[in-house]
């Protein structure tokens, strides 16, 4: 049983995951702080804000759901909105599946739950190559690495969010501290831009997301991903599958 093994956080790969993630924790923290402030200012009670921070753990779907909750929208509309905002995670889960399937269901669900955008991006940049399904020590090392990424993100998100809720009236929203979160994402994006096709992917996705911005429920993000992946697959050299696979962007 897993429980008899050394805990994940003692695995050396856990520390590597923490080190990979630490440089962007400041951006996550600023973003979490502003999300906490924004939730209180939108009119949720402090208990509701705290509950949301601790259990929902998804900034963009929280920020999309809060105005709907305050406006008294039907529950199914709120949940459907959050699901659409989260559609990108469904794509990510297809990518992460080979790293998860050796675990029991509840651990797979826990692993998915804690894996945010940044953890997914950092993990797949650090480990671009798949692991054989029977190579359990390596799979265990990957688990530890992802857990290290997620631990940093969880702390860097939840603690500042709670601070933001507590100090909502002391931090003016108009300072725009949340932009630090965008800058963190920008840094990661640039660190992933390790091949010509990936640069093209970023350009196409950004342009498509702007062009499709009028779509509801942040579906422009899905349009951006789909357009970029389609264009890059068409631009790959035909007849040489994998020839243009980029090397890892490496960690920040």
């Amino acid at each position: 049983m897993k429980l008899l093994k050394e805990p994940l956080w003692r695995h050396p790969e856990f520390r590597q995951g923490v080190r990979d993630m630490a440089p962007i924790a400041a951006g996550t923290a600023a973003w979490g702080l502003m999300t906490g402030v924004a939730m209180v200012k939108s009119g949720l009670s402090v208990f509701e804000c705290v509950l949301m921070t601790v259990v929902v753990f998804a900034g963009s779907s929280q920020l999309a759901a809060v105005p709907l909750i305050v406006a008294g929208a039907p529950m199914w509309v709120i949940l459907a909105t959050a699901a659409c905002v989260n559609l990108r995670f469904v794509v990510f889960s297809a990518h992460l599946r080979p790293y998860m399937m050796h675990q029991p269901l509840w651990r797979r669900m826990a692993g998915g739950y804690f894996t945010t955008d940044l953890s997914y991006v950092m993990f797949t940049a650090r480990h671009p190559h798949p692991v054989a399904p029977d190579d359990l020590p390596t799979l265990r090392a990957r688990e530890a690495s992802l857990a290290g990424n997620c631990a940093v993100t969880w702390i860097a998100w939840v603690v500042p969010s709670l601070l933001g809720i507590a100090m909502a009236n002391a931090v003016p929203l108009h300072w725009g501290l949340g932009f630090a979160g965008i800058l963190a994402l920008l840094g990661i994006t640039l660190s992933l831009a390790s091949s010509r096709l990936r640069l093209i992917s970023a350009g196409v996705a950004g342009a498509a997301a702007v062009a499709a911005f009028a779509l509801p429920l942040k579906l422009n993000i899905i349009v951006g991903i789909a357009a970029a992946v389609a264009v890059c697959l068409m631009l790959e050299k035909p007849g040489k599958p994998g020839a243009s696979l980029p090397k890892t962007g490496g960690a920040a």
């Binding site: 709120i78 992460l96 998860m100 840094g187 997301a209 920040a252």
Partner: protein, 111 residues
């Protein structure tokens, strides 16, 4: 201070379920299954595409329209952050350099 109501609490718990299901969508079934090869190759371009699709509108759009002025703190902050990244390859430096440009322009000059 706002009142907590049960309906909102149930909605929040529902949102947590949405987080779990979307993030572990393709792990839920343990039937043997692999992605087709083209989709596996496509996934090499998905992470950067997702990030670009999130951040580009946040930098160049205001209230659903492309910005029409160069007096926007976000553009200068993003350029400063990117310049720092290409100089030092540091994500933390990107955040710090970007905010060092953003805060004076945004809070000071209201750009």
């Amino acid at each position: 201070m706002m009142q907590t109501d049960a309906w909102t609490v149930v909605t929040i718990l529902g949102l947590a379920v949405v987080t779990v299901i979307t993030r572990s969508f393709f792990f839920l079934s343990s039937k043997p299954w692999t992605l087709p090869a083209w989709a596996q190759r496509g996934l090499h371009y998905a992470p950067i595409a997702a990030l670009a699709a999130v951040i580009v509108p946040e930098i160049v759009m205001t209230q659903g329209a492309l910005i029409s002025t160069w007096k926007d703190a976000r553009v200068f902050a993003a350029l400063a952050g990117a310049a720092w990244f290409f100089w030092r390859r540091s994500v933390l430096g990107t955040i710090v350099a970007g905010m060092a440009v953003y805060l004076p322009l945004h809070v000071g000059l209201h750009w």
